[in-house]
Each structure stands twice: as structure tokens, then as C-alpha cells.
Amino acid sequence: MAERRSIAAVAVGEQIPARSFELDRAMLVRYAGAALDFNAIHWSEPAAERAGLPDVIAHGMLTMALAGRLVTDWAGDPGAVEDFSTRFSGMVPVGAEAPATVVVAGTVTEILAGERAVVELSVEAGGTAVLKAARAVVRLRN
């Protein structure tokens, strides 16, 4: 059975191992529908070109959601995330026949009162940081 991670087992400096997430065009379309975000730069090459982009790009919020998966799986409970923030620092182009790979890793950087841990995330695609200052405050159990 799933269980929320215990703060007793967490220390500053703990590394959450990197995971790779593959993003293809079908995922962008699916995300657009589920998130009700129909901006055409996420599915139409002509629209992306008109906006000066190299190709169709992933929704920033989809990339952030992938980063969130690392945190919720580590915490053992998606309800544990109390505060989740980031800056969008790079694009994730997704080719029609060339999926993108987003690599997410985490580090526990702080333990706060109330069984809370701060997790800082590195999120890269194509060797570039696409999220910066990605940070989650996670409430664990004692």
C-alpha cells in the first residue's frame, strides 16, 4: 500500500535519482485537451513558426508537471506538495517524428518545521535547463 514518506528518513543533501520523461506530439495534444490549453504553438508547426519558434514546443506546465511527478512519487502522496514554483528558462521543442526527452532530478535542500522538506529540482532537455529555481515544499509524515 502506498504511504507518505517519513521525515525521519530524509536528510538535507538527499538526492532523488534522475528520471527521463519522453514527450511526443501525441502527449502534447493530450495535455492540451486535458489542461484546456489550446495555444496552437503546442500543436501546429505553422503557428510555432509564426511565433518565431524552432518547432512545436511543449507546454511549460506539462514540463512542470513532469517535474512534479518526481516529487509526488518520492513523497508517496501527491497531496503532500504544499508549494510548487518555477521559472521557465528554456523551450522543449518536440518534433513530429522526434520526441523530446526531459530529465528531472531532485535534491533535498532544507528541512522545515512541521515535517516539511524542500526539494530543489533540475529539469533539462537537450542539455539545457528548461526550468530554473524549480522548488517544491513537501509535507511528509513524522
Partner: protein, 154 residues
């Protein structure tokens, strides 16, 4: 043209309440590729102390995007959507968003500031239940490229 800073503090009509269903949560979890059982299993969710299945932590931004169209369409603000990119996002949860929630929003322009040649437009969407319980604060920063005062297009 630069953004009209007289709009800072302005509140916008968020539209109707957002009714969160188990189906919508399953659909959103699938769309982010997350097959964790808790998004589909109310009993499992209850065993972890939740009242129903929780939404993934970024789901508040979906609601915020729906409710936050007012500023994006306000002619007095003067946002040119062709220049906009998503700059920053923050989701603060007093508690998870659950299936069964009917959420009301309060949408305001929190700030507008320069960042080099760009302007940063900060939109706040505060979500609460109909009973007045605060649930989630979603802060979205949109970058208006090249519109800072004193720049070519400002």
C-alpha cells in the same frame, strides 16, 4: 506599447465555479503520464487521509488558466498575446484539490514590473470552496516581450 500599470490591483470576473470530477483528475493524470493509483482509487486516497482522490499538484494552474482569461482580454491592459511567453508559475496549496470540489476564483493583477526590455505581468488566482475554505493560490507570471518603457516597442 507598455502595459497599463493602472490595472494593477484590478479584479476580473473568473466565470463560473470549476467543478472538479474524478474523471477530470484521471484524465489530467493520464495526460501527464502519471499512472499512480491514487488518482483513480478513492479508497486508496482515503487510506492516505484524503477525502477523495487528489489532483496532481499542478492542476490548480488548469483552473487558473480557465478563470484568468479576463486580464488576457482586457483592452485597457494592452497585452499583445503574440508577445507573451510563460515566465513563472507558483502553486500554493492550503490543501490538495479534490474530486468533488466546486471552486470559486478571485482573479487579480498582482503586479507589473520591468525586467530588462520585457515586462512581467503577475496574475493571481485564489481558489476557495463555496463555503469560503481557501484551497489554492496560483500565481502566473507572463512575460510581455520587448514592451518595457523606453524600449523600441515600449
Amino acid at each position: 506599447m507598455s502595459l497599463n500599470r493602472a490595472t494593477v490591483g484590478r479584479a476580473y470576473d473568473p466565470g463560473p465555479p470549476f467543478d472538479v470530477s474524478r474523471q477530470k483528475i484521471r484524465e489530467f493524470a493520464a495526460a501527464i503520464g502519471d499512472d499512480a493509483a491514487i488518482y483513480a482509487d478513492p479508497e486508496l486516497a482515503r487510506s492516505l487521509g484524503h477525502r477523495d482522490v487528489p489532483a496532481p499538484p499542478t492542476f490548480g494552474s488548469v483552473i487558473s488558466l480557465q478563470m484568468g482569461q479576463g486580464p488576457r482580454r482586457d483592452p485597457e491592459l494592452g497585452l499583445d498575446y503574440a508577445r507573451v511567453v510563460h515566465g513563472e508559475q507558483r502553486i500554493e496549496q492550503a490543501r490538495p484539490i479534490y474530486a468533488g470540489d466546486s471552486l470559486l476564483g478571485e482573479v487579480t493583477i498582482a503586479s507589473i514590473r520591468d525586467a530588462g526590455a520585457n515586462e512581467l505581468l503577475e496574475i493571481l488566482c485564489a481558489l476557495s470552496t463555496e463555503a469560503g475554505e481557501p484551497v489554492c493560490r496560483v500565481t502566473s507570471v507572463l512575460v510581455s516581450r520587448g514592451t518595457a518603457a523606453g524600449t523600441a516597442d515600449g
